[in-house]
């Protein structure tokens, strides 16, 4: 029974938690407290299911597992179809892992409308899990876009001063992308007669239509990533979002774009992907260099890390579109690693923000004196972000660059400049915040990590180093699915090339 509907249980368990939270009655304080605990337990339960799923996951099987299939809108051939493969299974784990951390990080910093906040977060978790599990385009679309609603709330209600502007910007960008994606999904349905992803994979549309559909999907995923030049919503959203919102935004939501490329663009539109490869390469390289330089001049901690996320996502898109095993594996690794590291960096910002209520870098300095634990933890994540070998940040970046070097040395050369620029902005940030003489007395008198904060960050520290030293913990799960993805992609391209070479002999081939 549990085997049968594991993914649904995980997806809808947080919603069940919401229902319970809604039923809590009492004065505001009691409600808030109970809501917090309820949300935490729900998310921990979900995490336990996710861990169980990963343990039961069969790494050598390159197909979808824990598949659920039942009618939904049967008239139209739209089914409730769920399943995970080696690519998505770890994203589910990432989402369920970061949610309780976010809830804990908001423990004392969210003071108003606590109940609503927790509900928004659980809804968000539910939709994130659904996004990574959905195997039907309509179902995927529902979850993928549904994620925006709680995220809007989190930024718009619990955000900073300019939250209205930030959420407006967020809205405009994502609306543009999602409308196009919806049109593309409908077109696919018209062409193939199905919204089922495995079915669509098996029945590719003609290369000409692929290009249009590719562009439509690309619009949506590029905004989510975000890729240059549609990235400007991210710094504003991060700056205005509360800490927990930033963590989940950087940690999971940005990965949905990359996941989309892997689930749709490559397998469904291989000819178009090959056609647009150079275009994506250049956008990725521009993202890496441009946003790294922009990050360098930021005076707001969160903006700096937000821009660094855009640069890191540049490696992801670069790796995915090399369409090689090494490149895609590097991209997936980079996404998972960045999920941990950038999430952790936002938590680190949150720690000092909670104490001083400013994100202005210049207001800090000399923090190490009173906060040695904090300084150590922050340093490890800073090094992870810089991509120091031995941290998880290195593995993905290196694999992506290696794959890129194989296909295009110029691109790899330009992208590798991120090694220098990334070190520059992170070290500058760290130095200004943590080192130096203490110039502001309030910054100098901040207390070191309290136990809650410490135990929030400690698992992330362990994982960042663990995945830097034992990357096979991840790659052994992702490899088979990625190898299948890439070999299907190459097989399809080879078939298309043959079809172009021998346009007059389709009948003969059929005879075989």
């Amino acid at each position: 029974m549990i085997e049968f509907s594991l993914l649904s249980i995980m997806t809808f368990l947080p919603l069940a938690g919401c229902l319970i939270i809604l039923m809590i009655r009492g004065d505001e304080e009691t409600v808030g407290k109970n809501a917090k605990y309820m949300a935490l337990y729900t998310s921990l339960f979900t995490l336990a299911f996710a861990v169980y799923m990963v343990i039961r996951f069969e790494p050598l099987d390159d197909g979808f597992q824990f598949v659920e299939h039942s009618g939904w809108l049967k008239t139209f051939g739209i089914n409730y179809h769920m399943g995970v493969d080696g690519i998505s299974v770890l994203f589910v784990l990432l989402a369920t892992f970061l949610t309780p951390i976010c809830i804990l990080s908001a423990w004392s910093s969210i003071k108003t409308r606590v109940k609503e906040f927790m509900i928004a977060f659980l809804v968000l978790e539910s939709f994130m899990i659904g996004t990574f599990c959905a195997l039907d385009t309509i179902l995927f679309y529902t979850f993928f876009e549904g994620v925006l609603i709680p995220m809007f709330l989190i930024i718009g209600v619990w955000g900073g001063k300019r939250r209205v502007y930030a959420s407006y910007k967020f809205f405009l960008y994502t609306l543009l992308g999602s409308v196009l994606m919806l049109v593309a999904i409908l077109t696919l349905y018209a062409q193939v007669g199905s919204t089922d992803i495995p079915t669509l994979m098996a029945n590719p549309v003609s290369p000409e239509i692929q290009k249009w559909l590719w562009i439509a999907f690309f619009a949506s995923f590029a905004v989510k990533m975000p890729m240059w030049p549609v990235h400007t919503w991210l710094p504003d959203a991060h700056v205005e979002a509360p800490t927990a919102g930033s963590v989940i935004l950087a940690g999971v939501l940005l990965k949905m774009g990359g996941y989309g490329f892997l689930r749709f663009s490559l397998p469904l539109f291989p000819d178009a992907t090959a056609f647009f490869t150079d275009f994506v390469y250049w956008l990725s390289v521009i993202a890496i260099i441009y946003t790294s330089l922009v990050a360098l001049v930021q005076t707001d901690m969160k903006k700096l890390i937000a821009y660094s996320s855009v640069a890191h996502m540049g490696y992801v898109t670069l790796g995915i579109f090399t369409a090689t095993v090494v490149g895609v594996e590097g991209a997936v690794y980079q996404m998972l690693s960045h999920g941990l590291i950038s999430g952790a960096l936002f938590l680190c910002v949150g720690v000092v923000y909670d104490r001083l209520h400013t994100r202005e870098i210049a207001r800090y300095g000399g923090v190490v004196k009173n906060m040695p634990k904090y300084a150590t933890v922050f340093m490890i994540f800073m090094l992870g972000s810089v991509g120091l070998p031995g941290t998880s940040g290195f593995v993905g970046e290196f694999l992506v660059l290696l794959a890129a070097f194989k296909v295009n040395t110029t691109i790899a050369f330009l992208a590798a400049s991120g090694l220098v620029l990334g070190a520059a902005y992170m070290l500058v940030l760290y130095r200004k915040v943590v080192f130096g003489p203490t110039e502001h007395s309030d910054a100098a008198s901040m207390q070191d990590l309290n136990p809650r904060e410490f135990w929030l960050l400690a698992p992330l520290v362990v994982l960042v180093i663990y995945f830097g030293v034992f990357p096979s913990a991840i790659t052994s799960i992702t490899s088979p699915a990625i190898e299948k993805l890439v070999s299907n992609y190459n097989a399809h391209l080879a078939a298309s090339a043959e079809a172009v070479d021998t346009p007059l002999q389709p009948l003969e081939n059929e005879g075989h």
Binding site: G146, V230, T232, V297, F398, L402, F405, F413, P437, S472
Partner: protein, 711 residues
């Protein structure tokens, strides 16, 4: 055994780092020192087994990154090259660890300091024992991290933080080239494991590789990319600007990281990759030219500096230049030889300088020193040994290694070989001059420090002097003991011209060494409370003597290096170096003596000479004193522009272009939207939900329409 030698410092780092508070400073010191001392003895054991016993091997620990056709292991490659490096690293590190107990005794973060030192030692050991380029890169960046942490150890100082940051970022520029080199190797060879690369090099000797739209000779391209990494790490001209600034770190750090070990990683890299460089003569030529130029330029700067540590730093840079031009003429053994002797005498000089700084109440400016040799006689004597070794005066270690490096450069019989030789000769003159300028300014003449400082001048404690004596022993003995094995002639003994000279010197040296050894022994006996250090020193001396006895008879350089270094027969300049004309051999020594004499003239005899010279060559002095204005140039060209471009992208790219024509396009729309949102703050979810419902209705009606037609 190799696991102990490599991982014990890591264990020490973890213990001292995680439980530092519980252990206290003393606990951290005991843990880290004993770990590294054990590691040092283990390395010596490995040296006996592998270098002298001929037992090279590789230990695979576990897979690291496996993806598609790329796979790389965590593995330790134990051959002569790595055990030589391990011995140098662990012995110098042990000395520095023990020394730091004394030097940092007033610092209230000394436990953390010891932990960082151990971390560094571990990373450096990983670097030299790597059996593939990626693990080497791991160690490479790891030592960079440790260097960053230690340079910025006094993190309340702006200058220290700036220096640490600069060191990391400038090194990253080198790593950028290094990483591209690793990728190029993978693309060309399909592997980054050393054995497999080396076996495949001859087959790819003529291959061309397209890089950035141009076709390059593959081996040359790879050699140059890797060399970019070496330039950064080893502070060669172009990416050297971080090294002098790195002197902001505590002095033991300068001795260990910025003199003896980390900065030689680039030399090690090229030596490790010798089977590849042998097929990339053009790359080697670049290495030789860069090395020769660096040796010269750094020496000129060293002439004019006043900070005692910066003088030694420039001398390090200059000596690294020697090592590189030795590599550039295929004299890998000579480069490694100079690396080893340099590690001893340079660490000695730095720690000695630290002892002076310690005595002078943390003063580093030589203009505020002088006249203290009677007050700190042991330090003074040790500094003499270090400086004589650096100046290349027989029978000290530097004499042997510097000579063979220069002879090999000449023996290469190429334009760049000769260029390197003459650069090296000029640098040798300047090296001797500034080394003794340092000695004379620091110790001789009238005291220029304040009376308060002078009254505090005191000899350092035994825990600091002990390690110094061990290093001094190395600086004295390492040269002649290892000469035969590292760079000796493999031709029949006595047959060649240089041999007679060799035997004679060796005999003289035996005597000298014994005397010095006794002297050191006596001194250390006088020092109370240095038992462990002394025993350690004894053991070390004994083992060196044993090795020395073995050396002369059986161990020629071929059987010593085995397969760890590869030289094409026609490139064997170390062999040819034994047959260069007599004047080529003698000139370095003449230069050394002249330099010392010059320093004596200028700083003891005619003390107004420096001032006059400076006045007469004002522009030259300005150039040297300001380090050829590299920092100013880089700040102006790279740093300022990076910020300028970043700001431009941010303001004009993001805000005034993308946002303006994108989401902010219609100001009116923004206003309206904002108005709605602020009115019903929590309500705007419904707008979105409404849109979604609209979309779903659209889908449904479309489907109804379609299916209605279809049925």
């Amino acid at each position: 055994m190799e696991l102990i030698a490599v991982f014990l410092p890591l264990v020490a780092f973890l213990i001292a780092g995680l439980f530092g508070k519980k252990l206290g400073h003393g606990g951290c010191q005991v843990v880290t020192c004993s770990a590294v001392i054990i590691a040092a003895f283990t390395s010596i054991g490995l040296f006996l087994d592998v270098a002298l016993g001929g037992q090279a091997y590789t230990t695979t620990i576990m897979p690291w990154i496996v993806s598609g056709d790329f796979s790389v292991n965590w593995a330790l490659r134990i051959d002569t090259l790595s055990v030589v490096m391990m011995c140098v690293i662990n012995i110098v590190s042990a000395c520095v660890h023990v020394y730091s107990v004394g030097y940092m005794s007033h610092d209230n973060a000394r436990g953390r300091f010891m932990a960082y030192l151990s971390l560094f030692t571990f990373a450096m050991l990983m670097l030299v024992t790597a059996d593939n380029l990626l693990q080497l890169f791991f160690g490479w960046e790891g030592v960079g991290l440790a260097s960053y942490l230690l340079i910025g150890f006094w993190n309340h100082k702006h200058s220290a933080n700036a220096a640490a940051q600069k060191a990391f970022i400038v090194n990253r520029v080198g790593d950028f080239g290094f990483a591209l080199g690793i990728m190029a190797i993978f693309v060309v060879f399909g592997t980054i494991q050393f054995d497999e690369i080396f076996a495949a090099v001859p087959d790819h000797a003529e291959m061309t590789f397209s890089f950035l739209g141009h076709d390059f000779h593959a081996m040359t391209l790879i050699g140059l990319l890797l060399f970019v990494g070496a330039i950064g790490k080893s502070a060669q001209l172009g990416l050297h600007t971080w090294l002098p600034d790195a002197m902001e770190g505590p002095t033991p750090v300068s001795a260990l990281i910025h003199a003896a070990t980390m900065v030689t990683a680039g030399v090690f890299l090229v030596a490790r990759m010798s089977p590849l460089y042998e097929y990339a003569p053009d790359a080697l030529q670049v290495v030789a030219i860069v090395g020769g130029t660096t040796a010269f330029v750094a020496a000129t700067i060293g002439l004019t500096q006043f900070d005692i540590k910066r003088v030694i730093a420039y001398s390090t840079m200059s000596q690294l230049g020697y090592m590189f031009f030795a590599l550039g003429v295929s004299a890998y053994g000579a480069a490694m030889f100079h690396l080893v002797t340099h590690a001893f005498f340079k660490a000695l000089l730095f720690l000695g300088a630290g002892s002076v700084i310690h005595a002078m109440s943390d003063e580093q400016d030589m203009r505020k020193m002088g006249g203290v040799y009677k007050k700190i006689p042991v330090t003074y004597a040790l500094m003499w040994i270090g400086s004589l070794a650096l100046a290349g005066i027989p029978p000290l270690a530097g004499f042997y290694s510097k000579d063979i490096v220069l002879e090999a450069a000449w023996a290469d019989q190429s334009a760049w070989g000769h260029y390197a030789y003459w650069m090296g000769i000029a640098a040798a003159l300047m090296t001797a001059f500034y080394s003794f300028r340092l000695i004379f300014m620091t110790f001789h003449g009238k005291p220029r420090a304040s009376e308060k400082v002078m009254s505090h001048v005191h000899e350092s404690p035994a825990v600091m002097l002990g390690p110094l004596m061990l290093l001094a022993t190395g600086a004295i003995l390492a040269g002649f003991v290892f000469y035969q094995s590292f760079v000796g002639s493999s031709a029949h003994h006595g047959a060649d011209h240089g041999k007679g000279h060799q035997v004679e010197v060796v005999e003289e040296l035996h005597e000298a060494a014994e005397q010095v050894g006794e002297g050191v022994h006596n001194i250390s006996k006088n020092v109370t409370g240095a038992d462990s250090v002394e025993q350690h020193a004894d053991a070390k001396r004994e083992s060196e003597h044993e090795e020395a006895d073995g050396d002369h008879v059986a161990w020629a350089k071929e059987s010593f290096w085995q397969d760890a270094l590869f030289v094409k027969a026609e490139n064997d300049t170390v062999e040819a170096a034994h047959n260069v004309p007599m004047w080529v051999k003698k000139l370095p020594l003449v230069m050394g003596v002249l330099g010392i004499f010059g320093a004596w003239l200028a700083y003891i005899k005619y003390t107004d000479l420096p001032k006059k010279t400076r006045a007469n060559f004002a522009w030259l002095h300005t150039l040297f004193y300001n380090k050829y204005f590299f920092d100013e140039l880089y700040t102006k060209v790279f740093v300022k522009n990076a910020w300028r471009i970043g700001r431009f992208f941010w303001v004009y790219g993001d805000q005034k272009t993308i946002d303006r024509f994108g989401p902010d396009g219609s100001a009116g729309l923004t206003q309206r939207f904002a108005g709605v949102l602020s009115r019903v703050q929590t309500g705007f979810i419904y707008h979105y939900a409404f849109l979604m419902i609209l979309a779903v209705i659209a889908i449904l009606s479309w489907f109804f329409f379609k299916s209605g037609l279809g049925v």
